[in-house]
């Protein structure tokens, strides 16, 4: 599903590479934690999958596509198959919960009848039934993140990328979000989550990739946050 072949990335104007010679493969339906200190290359790794950048060297395959040779105008089609969630939620102010989730389908030009059916189902899945007409700022952080997750998965993507989704949330709320991500993963969506949250990684016992100064220093099945 995702393959990195000897991938390095150096940002222009910098001499130190953000990622060095990464080789790995992530299969369909996996749940992967990406851990490492700030500046270790986690965000670069995720952005390469989204084709926000091209690698400086090496090859990346996502969903069978060679990203190095993917045409600029085919990038939107790739992104439709990858849902994204961020630490800061990125919801649209002034739009209700329903509208925020529906936005993800509207901008793809989906018919209204389809939107009316899928959006309530998705809101129900993330556990926000009854809050469709609320504004994002009226919701708690955890609820806002659920809205963002609903928007990310409403199009049924094959991959869900979560960049520190619990970074702004308290531990108890984080557990709820993790249960939700786990449920999405069980629907056959590959989940890749970058995180600093040691408790979560240790509890979930999923595959762990650790980056350190751009190097992949650990790839552990059923791993924990830090090496003991």
């Amino acid at each position: 599903m995702i393959t990195f072949e000897d991938v390095s990335k150096t940002y222009s104007g910098q001499t130190k590479p953000a990622l060095r010679h990464i080789n790995l493969q992530i299969d369909k339906g996996e749940f992967v934690f990406l851990v490492g200190t700030s500046g270790s290359g986690k965000s670069t790794f995720l952005r390469l999958i989204l084709r926000e950048y091209r690698p400086t060297s090496g090859k990346i395959f996502v969903l069978g596509k060679d990203l190095g040779h993917l045409h600029q105008w085919k990038v939107p089609a790739l992104r439709r198959q990858i849902g994204t969630v961020f630490q800061d939620f990125r919801l649209l102010p002034g739009k209700t919960v329903y509208e925020n989730v529906a936005f993800g389908l509207q901008v793809l030009g989906r018919p209204t009848s389809q939107i009316r059916q899928i959006v309530p189902e998705t809101i129900d899945l993330v556990g926000l039934s009854g809050k469709e007409d609320r504004q994002p700022e009226e919701l708690s952080g955890g609820e806002q993140q659920r809205v963002a997750i609903a928007r990310a998965i409403v199009n049924r993507p094959k991959i869900l990328i979560a960049d520190e989704p619990t970074g702004n949330l308290d531990p108890q709320t984080s557990v709820g979000i993790m249960k939700l991500l786990d449920r999405i993963n069980k629907r056959d969506t590959t989940v890749i989550m970058a995180t600093h949250d040691q408790t979560i990684v240790d509890q979930m016992r999923k595959r762990v990739l650790e980056l350190d100064q751009g190097n992949l220093v650990r790839d552990q099945v059923r791993g924990v946050y830090g090496t003991a």
Binding site: P76, R79, I82, T84, L92, F103, G104, L108, N155
Partner: protein
């Protein structure tokens, strides 16, 4: 589609004052551009009419012509002889640049003058003897006159060679200056309008950068993201086109159709077809003018 139109409309409302400024600048510059197009058409028309009619007049000697500063190739106190006259005709007819040669005698010239200036008070004092015999030379290509003028001037029995280019060229250089001057100003204003549109759209895109970011994230196509901005610019372009078309057709109706065509009938004037053609060109320029800066400025927000 509904989303696109809603976004376009909200963009226009949000930037109402900028949109008005854009429309004003565009209308003025497009109108000036259209006027300059019409000046081009008019100058070409006048040029075509006059240049086609241009003949070279080769004036022959009279008894009085010698001894003056304009004596040319004349013998003092002599008319051009018949031998010289025939030689001049032969030489002119043999020149490859010459189409036709007519002979106009003193008597013909006198009659022609009487007919043309029937009301002139000078007419009574004019005699046949004051007129000059001449050859009228029609050219194959009126633009190509220097060779014939030079040859005729060198022939014996020729007093003077008059060619209308000497008279018309200064007039046309003024007209040319006028048409390129208006075009230059129009182009400058159009460039200003273009920058203004670019800025307006940039502002509009900036206020919507959150939405744009999310649209890119969920994989909306570039066309979908760009369309509201293109439509927003196109709206300004269409309104400006309508306003400047009204101004152009209005000035054509009042300045040319009702005024110039009535009072200056000697000149050929542009027609409604020309006026509509100018409006068509204005519309094309307006579309290009609104779309190109929009595509350039929004590209930055769409770079993936």
């Amino acid at each position: 589609m509904r989303h696109t139109f809603r976004e376009t409309w909200s963009g226009l409302k949000r930037n109402a004052s900028m949109t008005v400024a854009v429309i004003v600048t565009m209308t003025v510059s497009l109108t000036l551009f259209g006027l300059s197009v019409m000046t081009f058409q008019e100058v070409d028309r006048v040029k075509g009419r006059w240049y086609d009619k241009i003949e070279i007049s080769v004036f022959l000697c009279t008894k009085d012509s010698a001894g003056t500063s304009q004596s040319g190739n004349c013998e003092p106190g002599q008319d051009t002889t018949d031998v010289q006259r025939d030689y001049i005709r032969t030489r002119l007819e043999q020149n490859p640049d010459v189409l036709e040669v007519f002979y106009e005698s003193k008597e013909d010239a006198y009659q022609d003058y009487r007919n043309t200036y029937a009301d002139s008070p000078l007419l009574d004092s004019l005699t046949i003897e004051q007129m000059q015999d001449s050859f009228r030379v029609k050219l194959v290509d009126p633009q190509n006159y220097q060779g014939v003028v030079a040859e005729a001037s060198s022939l014996p029995g020729v007093q003077n060679v008059l060619d209308l280019h000497e008279v018309l060229d200064p007039i046309f250089s003024v007209l040319n200056g006028l048409k390129w001057g208006t075009m230059g100003m129009a182009v400058l204003l159009l460039a200003a309008a273009m920058l203004q549109i670019g800025n307006t759209i940039r502002m509009s895109a900036f206020t919507r950068r959150r939405e744009i970011g999310i649209m890119r994230l969920v994989g909306a196509s570039n066309i979908y993201i760009m369309l509201p901005f293109v439509l927003e610019a196109l709206f300004a372009g269409v309104v400006s086109t309508i306003l400047s078309a009204a101004a152009l057709l209005g000035s054509y109706e009042f300045l040319i159709e009702r005024n110039a065509k009535v009072s200056i009938q000697a000149l050929p004037w542009i027609t409604w077809t020309d006026a509509w053609m100018a409006v068509g060109l204005v519309a094309v320029v307006a579309v290009v003018l609104s779309i190109v800066p929009t595509l350039i400025t929004t590209r930055r927000y769409l770079r993936v």
